[in-house]
């Protein structure tokens, strides 16, 4: 992999939140990359740390959150070391973010038109209203919206969830960012609408060379859209590799278990579904060994007491597990 191709390189990210009940170690060790023109997916269940990882990159953590360690090199600059002023310049213009619930992300008292023109003009005050309007209309059309002029005059409450998400994507892309961070953008949408949004994102990737960091819990979406995948659990990236490596050659027991647990339409129900045993971990009191050990069918003595290091499986495929020998996968 060429160093030039790497747009975002996150290494050793570690962050926590102070709460009345104690310090929540939301992310203990996250490392992954987003290459130019590619989609990297971060997949995990709730509590895995995937969403806060994305927020941390743009300095959008809640007030009680601290980035404790790690670097996030974006075009040579470490995002985690930047101050608020520099980050604000980056947001929207070089890195944009879209979120899960588009209906609540839009201010209901402003029309779509005023929202989009304001986005443009706040980044570049030199742009005239007329020009901002026409660029916005163009962008909406590029999102596959049939009557962009009409939509510009609408208020958010007259638009469907799918339309709102298209508007949000349009707003995110208005200033031509290099990287789009999408935090579960289709989770709240119907599956048919989701397919449209994913098609749109794929189109953006293929035609515009857009790079996307896509956060999700849905492996189907990952298979549909992503080129590289990081699987997170309990604040750790458990496995990272290309989408083929993850789906066809999964090395980590957690990834393997998750893939087995996915319900598939061809599955006729004769066998019970492959389920993961156990209960979620407590992020305030992390175990001293591997965080997945209590639920892992391959758990050994080392797993319980020693945090596993990343094992390099070649071709950019990395898994964090004791039971993997170099070049091989963990076998159940």
């Amino acid at each position: 992999m060429n160093g030039q191709d790497i747009l975002l390189d996150v290494t050793g990210l570690r962050l926590s939140f102070r709460t009345p009940r104690g310090t929540v170690q939301a992310v203990s060790n996250a490392s992954f990359q987003v290459l130019r023109g590619e989609v990297t997916g971060i997949v995990g269940e709730s509590g895995s740390g995937k969403s806060v990882t994305a927020c941390a990159l743009l300095g959008l953590l809640a007030r009680n959150g601290t980035v404790e360690a790690g670097t996030a090199l974006f075009d040579g600059r470490d995002l985690l070391a930047l101050g608020e002023k520099d980050l604000r310049k980056l947001r929207g213009s070089e890195i944009s973010m879209i979120f899960q619930d588009p209906m609540t992300a839009l201010d209901p008292v402003f029309t779509i038109g005023s929202f989009l023109t304001e986005v443009l003009r706040s980044h570049d005050p030199a742009v005239s209203r007329r020009e901002a309007w026409s660029r916005s209309v163009q962008m909406l059309a590029g999102m596959g919206i049939r009557d962009p002029e009409d939509v510009m005059h609408c208020y958010p409450d007259s638009l469907s969830g799918g339309m709102c998400q298209r508007v949000m994507i349009a707003a995110a892309l208005l200033c031509g960012p290099k990287l789009l961070i999408a935090d579960e953008p289709t989770t709240a949408l119907d599956v048919t609408i989701q397919e449209e949004i994913l098609s749109l994102l794929q189109q953006l990737k293929e035609e515009n060379g857009m790079s996307i960091l896509f956060i999700t819990h849905d492996f189907g979406v990952v298979a549909r859209l992503c080129d590289r995948v990081a699987v997170m659990y309990g604040g750790f990236v458990m496995e990272y590799g290309s989408v083929e490596q993850i789906f066809y050659d999964a090395a980590h027991p957690y990834t393997q278990a998750l893939l087995r647990a996915i319900p598939r339409p061809e599955d006729d129900g004769a066998e019970p579904m492959a389920a993961l045993q156990g209960d979620p971990i407590d992020l305030i009191h992390l175990p001293e060994g591997c965080v997945f050990a209590p639920r892992c069918s391959l758990c050994c003595e080392d797993c319980l007491h020693i945090r596993p290091a990343a094992a390099d499986l070649g071709s950019g495929h990395v898994a964090v597990c004791h039971r993997i020998r170099e070049g091989g996968a963990a076998h159940v």
């Binding site: 397919e195 794929q202 298979a223 647990a261 006729d268 579904m273 389920a275 993961l276």
Partner: protein
């Protein structure tokens, strides 16, 4: 297997907020049957009326018209549903919202028996709760906990135990796994299947997730805009769906397999950036690529195309 529940021509409308607009029919002339020990899956996207249908069958939401025959008795004609409610239960989607945040797990599970005075003595109630918790796979150490101390999967188990406590025969599962993480979804699905086998339960399994519905159901009904558009055996529906909406739904579900999934955007049965469903004619006509004049003027009814396979479409 004998017929347990038979719903005939059920209708439920809600008034629209804007005056002048006709009321919206959330459930529009729906009929189906569920047999003993069977799971009927109900699939549809948001707003199709599946949740309203589930509630209407239990008369939690009062239907406007139709018949609901439970073992021959018409529930619509009953004045006091209390007794029969023991036989027909429901488990909801949102695990935390469906449990009283200020009640212990033990009190929540025993609520049903206490209402119906099924077990009078405290000791018997305790024993029942312990048995039920064991049955749903919850350790008895959780009996004194509050819902906020449990995970989503555990909360859902409590909801299931609460429903089981009154010894039902039919349970409406309203998106019971949709709010759960993947690792808990399979646990709960397996639990439901085991309970069905052990207790001879029938389920109306409502979900938007086709794969999950396929796994647990014997037959599946696809709902769109208040009507059933296709009903078939689960395997038959997945492999040989005929209705344009069902086919669009199936194509939209992202398969967790990159090689199969990676296709270029395009050919689908219908467009999805649609307006309101049409008031006259087939509800899907507005979005259907193959819609013809007849589709817009007349409502197609469910026709049997093959044994056990029904579809509501003029074009198949």
């Amino acid at each position: 297997m004998s017929e347990l529940l038979s719903v005939e021509h059920l209708v439920k409308t809600f008034p629209t907020k804007r005056r002048g607009n006709p009321p919206v029919a959330a459930v529009n002339d729906v009929s189906f049957t569920v047999e003993e020990g069977e799971t009927l899956g109900l699939v549809g996207e948001s707003g199709c009326g599946k949740t309203t249908l589930g509630r209407s069958v239990l008369r939690l939401t009062e239907p406007d018209s139709g018949r609901i025959l439970y073992r021959g008795d018409d529930l619509m004609k009953m004045r006091d549903m209390r007794q029969i409610r023991q036989k027909l239960q429901i488990v909801f989607q949102n695990p935390s919202g469906s449990l009283d945040p200020r009640m212990h797990v033990r009190d929540t599970i025993s609520e049903g028996p206490r209402i119906h005075r099924m077990n009078i003595s405290k000791q018997e109630v305790r024993e029942l709760v312990d048995r039920l918790m064991h049955e749903v796979g919850l350790g008895s150490e959780y009996a004194g906990c509050y819902p906020s101390e449990l995970s989503g999967g555990q909360q859902q188990r409590v909801s299931i135990a609460r429903a089981l406590a009154v010894d039902p025969e039919f349970i409406v599962c309203d998106e019971v796994v949709s709010a759960l993480d993947l690792s808990y979804q399979s646990q709960i699905i397996n639990l439901l299947e085991r309970l069905q086998a052990e207790r001879k339960l029938s389920y109306l399994f409502i979900s938007h997730d086709l794969a999950v519905v396929r796994h647990i159901s014997r037959r599946i009904a696809v709902m769109y805009s208040g009507r059933f558009v296709e009903v078939a055996d689960a395997g038959e529906l997945i492999s040989h769906a005929v209705h344009p909406y069902t086919r669009m739904l199936l194509r939209s579900v992202p398969v967790p397999d990159p090689r199969i999934c990676r296709r270029t955007a395009g050919d689908s049965e219908g467009s999805t950036s649609a307006g309101q469903p049409s008031q006259t004619g087939c509800p899907f006509a507005g979005r259907c690529r193959r819609a013809e004049a007849a589709c817009r003027s007349e409502v197609p009814s469910l026709r049997e195309l093959a044994p056990g396979h029904f579809a509501a479409c003029f074009l198949v």
